[in-house]
Subunit: 317 residues, 2 copies
């Protein structure tokens, strides 16, 4: 297992800096009051391609030597990694093949195509996605960039927490949503070197709580095709992200679908920021688990803002 | 006629600084590409109370002597001035009475109440609004703070353009939406001292184009109760704002309802910023009048982000 180090993070940051935004950190006196905390929102919804995933994807793409880059890159993804990899490949001028569930939001599919990605659709289950991907990769010979179980990707995602602790002093805790665990692993990787006293929490939908159950059980538990409005958080942990989660995460907090949608709407209404449901899971967790965060300085990673504006969750019921 | 000066702007800025945000300026490579320009978005949607109007309202409220302040403040408004005045009055601990059309978005009414404002409803016409207001003011004796035809308010709104030119060098033009003309007048007031070479444009809905027709005619033309999705832009110019518009505005550009909604959705989708329809009118005008802005550095005032999330214009048809 190729475990990335802090040196890999520093190298990644230098490599990807020309291709990403150093995103701002925002605050909300209204949400602070509701939560009884001081929250510092790292706005990766304002990132290139609309999500933090462009950090890891860019690190993988721009770290390839020319011969490997020439055969292109390929991945399977529930959405944001797909469009981030397409974006990064487009900037390097190499092809990008993407396997996506046909149920992925139309906004994400058209964004992938907009960045020049080539989509092959599969069923919305991990097994179908992996089988379809094997066919695509065999046909193209492209470099596989896994959405999260990849040292290059984790080192790239770690640059987000590296920026956050440079922007905001004295954080008691940082919380990020957890699906496959790429962002959480990157956060662990960066903070264990830069701010080892800062606690790391993850937040997860009750309906896709496999990471929470994994942490309790002390081993990876993987569900096939859970259903949740937080479509970026349906995938399971893998060995590399499990390594970081098991060693560094204080707790994984779960929230209901209703709590996710309410928190998403709260951020839109009060902060005027478009965030996707996966990003709202952390805010919902902070509001629900008030005692865990009360009186503390908490970094909150708003992971992305790619939403189908024609199908908002509060207009769907 | 009490015409505010640049000294009033500097004094206003010092007075209101503890009560407002110095809002960030954002950019969008995607919208720049579409427009063929370099756009600098002054994000007043991220302002306290969700709109620039808190600048003028705070200047009026905190400029009152204690005796006058004790009787409270009152206004009529299509929305954002109402909640901004309620916010400012709340911070000073004085009452705020507001006359609002019963058709105003529910989000704005409940925000006014949330800030402690007391609402009296009227019909959605200028005549009904003014008659109802006269009754409320007679009953309370409160200080009238007009939403825009007020030197204190215009000096307050001018602090927005004052910040913008401090944040971004070398703007060739600035564009703001025009309803009653408070923001545009403040922009004229600030830029005529600070950046006299910067052109000032206004943008207006075709369906509420009274300011555009006024500029062409050389006199104020006022419509009663025009219909447009840009609900902040339905009110007519008054003598004080007409003074600034007639003397400093290069042109007023109009756009259709469809163009406004498309531009609003574009900003939400690409910039991940929640803006209200009135704020989208400028973006629509820049995309429509490409030749006017092509190749130039243009400041764009995103005036507010108070939207009823349960009634978005693209889900209403």
């Amino acid at each position: 297992m190729d475990i990335p180090t802090y040196d890999d993070v520093a190298a990644a940051h230098e490599r990807i800096a020309p291709h990403i935004h150093r995103t701002p950190v925002m605050t909300s006196s209204c949400i602070d009051r509701l939560a009884g905390t001081a929250l510092f929102f790292k706005c990766e919804n304002l990132q290139k391609a609309g999500a933090f995933k462009v950090r890891g994807a860019s690190n993988a793409v721009f770290g390839l030597d020319d011969a490997r880059a020439g055969r292109g890159v390929a991945t399977h993804s529930s959405g944001n990694h797909a469009l981030s990899l397409s974006y990064a490949a487009g900037r390097r001028g190499i092809p990008c093949n993407v396997v996506m569930p046909h149920t992925a939001p139309e906004a994400k599919k058209s964004a992938v195509r907009g960045y020049g990605g080539i989509i092959t659709e599969c069923e919305p289950s991990t097994s179908s996605r992996e089988a379809t991907f094997a066919e695509v990769q065999a046909a193209t010979g492209a470099e596989f960039v896994h959405p999260y179980n990849d040292a290059r990707v984790i080192a790239g995602q770690a640059t987000c927490a590296r920026e956050l602790v440079a922007q905001i002093d004295g954080l008691d805790a940082v919380i990020a949503p957890i699906g496959g665990g790429g962002m959480v692993s990157g956060t662990c990787l960066a903070l264990s070197s830069l701010a080892p006293g800062t606690e790391i929490y993850a937040a997860e939908p009750e309906q896709a709580d496999d990471a929470c159950r994994s942490l309790r059980a002390g081993r990876i538990i993987a569900d096939d095709a859970p259903e949740t409005v937080a479509d970026g958080l349906k995938v399971p942990l893998k060995e590399l992200t499990w390594h970081f989660v098991a060693n560094h995460v204080t707790d994984i907090l779960t929230v209901s679908e209703r709590e996710i949608v309410d928190a998403m709407k709260l951020v839109w209404k009060r902060m005027k920021l478009v965030i996707e449901p996966s990003s709202a899971v952390t805010v919902a967790a902070i509001l629900k688990h008030r005692d865990t965060f009360a009186g503390r300085r908490v970094g909150v990673i708003l992971t992305g803002g790619n939403v189908d504006l024609d199908a908002l969750p509060w207009t769907q019921q």
